[in-house]
Amino acid sequence: MSIFKKLFGKKSSIGSAVEKKEEVKIEATVDSETKIEEDKEIKHKAMSEKIKFTIDGKECLADKGQNVLDAALDNGVYIPFLCHVRGVKQAGSCRVCNVKVAGRTMTACTTPVAPGMEVENETAELTDLRKAIIEALFVEGNHFCPACEKSGNCELQALAYKFEMMVPRFPYEFPQKAIDADNDKIMIERNRCILCKRCVRSFQDDQGRSYFAFNKRGHELEIKIDQEVAANLTDEKAQEIMDTCPVGALLKKEKGFDEPIGTRKFDKTPIGCDNI
């Protein structure tokens, strides 16, 4: 009898649980339906709230609050950049995405689109300004492309190709930089670092602590890895970090050269909208 009671009791408890679950499910479906409708409304509103602006005379549409650089890419217009990562807070540190609006130069990544904005992108003046920045980055570090693991996949190099840089106009600085190979997965080759801050802004652990940080100041400014936070880096994460670095400053250890010349990202196709 007691066993039967127990069984019965259990049964009944199971039954009520199932009922409860069903109730929850029904509520959930009602919720999601209303959400979809709300989303549709928001999307509809957003569509109607698209901002019109032009880049070199081409009519473009942007979402409210979107920056010029992302909006340009969405409209199939390439504005060269080095420090920007989509979805990550902008830094405006490389200045390569400089555009001209109403006679003033400003970085496209930190400038929100305004209605009727007329953006100048591919002008002789801006191209030379961007080329000068690329050349300055080349002389400020020790960028010896033939010995770099990232050569062919490097965005700095790809931009130099794009601007047909044959030689920098500035004298080479040959600075002294220290290499940091203490971490098990990532090596920091500071000779190639352009201080774009992509790694600092892009990579945090599950507690929101950054793997990388800036160390020292001014001319001595350098990138540093937090050994405690980065102690358990996975191979996948290390690869992601290496791929995010625009140059060959952050290298996944034990990788080296694995792509033959001619098959790398920028060997045959110039950097642009299709292969950023």
């Binding site: 020790n142 010896f144 492309c145 033939p146 047909e164 044959m166 040959f174 010349i261």
Partner: protein, 182 residues
């Protein structure tokens, strides 16, 4: 009309750029029709015997002899072309830049793992030997350079296109795949 005269040299380089000149394959026959070679390791003429039109420079300047040769080229050539990464930015030899010369010599002749039987700890110090510079200099920081052809080595097609453009006076074609830094 006499043919344009070309001179070439390798300063602090590895002769890879000269190899790339030879890598133009059968076009080398056209090249011989097109130009005449003067001072160059290709024909082994050691000193300039006449004024040249084009000088191709491989390698940067790492010692006093390199500077002397480069200045000699500037005097004897109408147009100087830096060929390759070493001529343009110092290249591999420039990795010693920033390290004091004393330390470099010490490592090369006394402490290095490949130093064999230098038991007397002799440092090369003959007056015949050129003096090593404080750092490796790109060619355009020593003399005026007119054109630069990047690459390690520059693609044979790039060297060919540049030479033909210089000789014929036509505009140079720069296809994307041909201008590379590695």
């Amino acid at each position: 009309m006499s043919k344009p005269i070309v001179a070439t040299t390798s300063l602090a380089g590895c002769f890879g750029c000269h190899m790339s000149v030879l890598d133009i394959d059968d076009r080398i026959l056209k090249l011989i029709d097109l130009v005449e070679f003067n001072k160059s390791p290709i024909d082994d003429i050691k000193t300039f015997t006449k004024q040249c039109d084009i000088g191709l420079i491989e390698g940067g300047c790492c010692n006093s002899e390199n500077v002397h040769v480069l200045q000699d080229f500037r005097k004897n050539c109408k147009i100087l072309v830096s060929v390759g990464e070493c001529a343009i930015m110092g290249g591999l030899p420039a990795m010693r830049n920033g390290i004091p010369v004393e330390e470099c010599i010490q490592e090369a002749y006394l402490d290095g793992p490949t130093v064999g039987n230098n038991t007397d700890k002799v440092l090369p110090n003959d007056e015949e030997l050129p003096m090593i510079l404080d750092r490796v200099y790109p060619c355009h920081e020593v003399v005026k350079i007119d054109y630069h052809l990047p690459g390690c080595p520059p693609r044979a097609d790039l060297i060919w296109e540049a030479l033909v453009a210089l000789v014929t006076g036509d505009e140079m074609k720069l296809p994307y795949e041909v201008v590379k830094f590695d």
